[in-house]
Amino acid sequence: MTESPLWPLVVYFFAVIALVLIILGLSSLVGPRSTMQRATIEPFESGVVGIGSSQIPISVEFYLIAMFFVIFDLETVYIFAWAVAFFELGLFGYLAISVFILILVVALIYEWKSGALDWGVKKRVGLRE
């Protein structure tokens, strides 16, 4: 392995910092000073005036979907790992991943039936009155 010299990296690092300092310094020296005006604190200074707060309450369903996404997204990691080694694993691997997917399917059916996937009004299957 050939040892590549380190100094270009160091020069580059300092060059970047110097460039940033120069740009910031010049613009504050040369640029126009703006005083606090009526529209200064607006999000878009010369654009459309915003209405209301951006902190609107988000529906709980989004969180639920996000959680399902996190869980089911990760299962692909395992399935992908199995797919990569498909031929080496052979029949045993196939059976193992089938069990794995079966469990996922059962979980999905459960989620569906218990109304977690419904948007808006939950069906709430099988609740005692």
Binding site: F92, V106, I109, Y110, K113, S114, G126, L127, R128
Partner: protein, 483 residues
Amino acid sequence: MSGLQLQALLPIITLSSLILIQMMFIAFARNLRLTVSISVIALLLTALSFFPMVDHLPISATPLIQLDGFALFYSGLVLLGALMVTFLSYDYLRDQGERQDEFFMLLLLSCLGALILVSSNHFASFILGLELLGVSLYTMMSYPTRGLFTLEAALKYLILSGVSSAFILFGAALIYAIEGKLGFTELAGMNHTSAASGQFILLMGSTMIFAGIMFKLSLAPFHLWTPDVYDGAPAPVTAFLATVSKGAIFALALRLFTTTGLIDLDPLLRGLSFVAMVSILAGNLLALLQDNVKRILAYSSIAHMGYLAVAFVVAGKAGGQIMAMEAASYFLFAYFLTTLLAFSVVTIMSIADHEVDTTNLGDYEGLFWRRPALAAVFTATLLSLAGIPLTAGFIGKFYIFSIGVAAEAWLLMAFVVIGSGIGIFYYLRIIFAMTKAPRTDVKIEIPTASGWVAVVLTVSLVLFGVYPSPIIDLIGELMISFG
């Protein structure tokens, strides 16, 4: 994979498939009685599925799972605890809200995690078991819709438990970096092989794992979460946390430290002695200041984990391993019976209450006049916790004491004696509170399932306190096939 190995996985397969079946029943025909029946059947079938392999021990099925007598004994304890908690939770949850079925599924999942944990022989199965146990437990804690305390306890436990899992994982990564192996048996005899810098990383890694496990067992410098979580969690879940969760983690720790030889690291052994002493002292002294039964039980469990840590220290001394394991196993058995019984009394007291559990010492005043049977049961528990003769707790403590003497750990023994002395004081305080004049005349209903749990546990508590030899023989027989 051979038939024998498949047989060794049978308990795990049985329990998992029954959980799936239960899940489908919950999805299509939600019925609390049915769900609970499936839970009970699942636990019994799992217990039965251990029997075909009794003659073939030890079996290692895949590098992850090692089934030996040790694992068998602790699996039995886990299943017993889970069964009792199932009955208690049924009474506790029955009249609250509508969606209680999933709780029992989570209970089974948690139990599955504990089963994996006690037979785990590899860091991968260790972590999987630990998290399966933990994640289900947080959800169970926050399950009842009464009050905010449960949520708060669950959140606290989630955060601290996540941190401690991270510690264990990082420690495992450091050990893997030096040794290149993750299986416990393969790691045996490490820390003699590598260079000085490797030694340092190994010690770091072991210390981090050690700290993580100390946290989960709520041993002294890491015990601060215990009273809050015990107090906030619903009583049956606290029972599960105190027995099944801690018992499984203790079994795993014992296996991890003895098979890998981590226990031979001198700094760790010294740290362990220190932790044992501080736990015994802190648990017993802080319990004196409490007026809340659940908190007293929490501090008492810290002290009991301290006594168990004594067995750990003895296991690290030359020739003490099998002896220490036998003592620890009996002690844990007694602790299981006693703690389950204590929390079943708290559960029965709390069922009528819909906001928080009935835990103030004042609420227990006059219990002897209101419900003599319940008070008698609670008295038996407290005497067993204090280690008074004729109870299982006495035999357990005596066992610990005798191995301590045999290993000549005099300083530790002094702490055990002092701790037990202080302990009697606060246990008696609860008993005296129960004999006072009652404040109310409200009748305490004793539900059938919980009542039977209390009866069975009381009988075994006294029976194994008077006549402990069957269990001692069983433990002795099972521990032979360790490793």
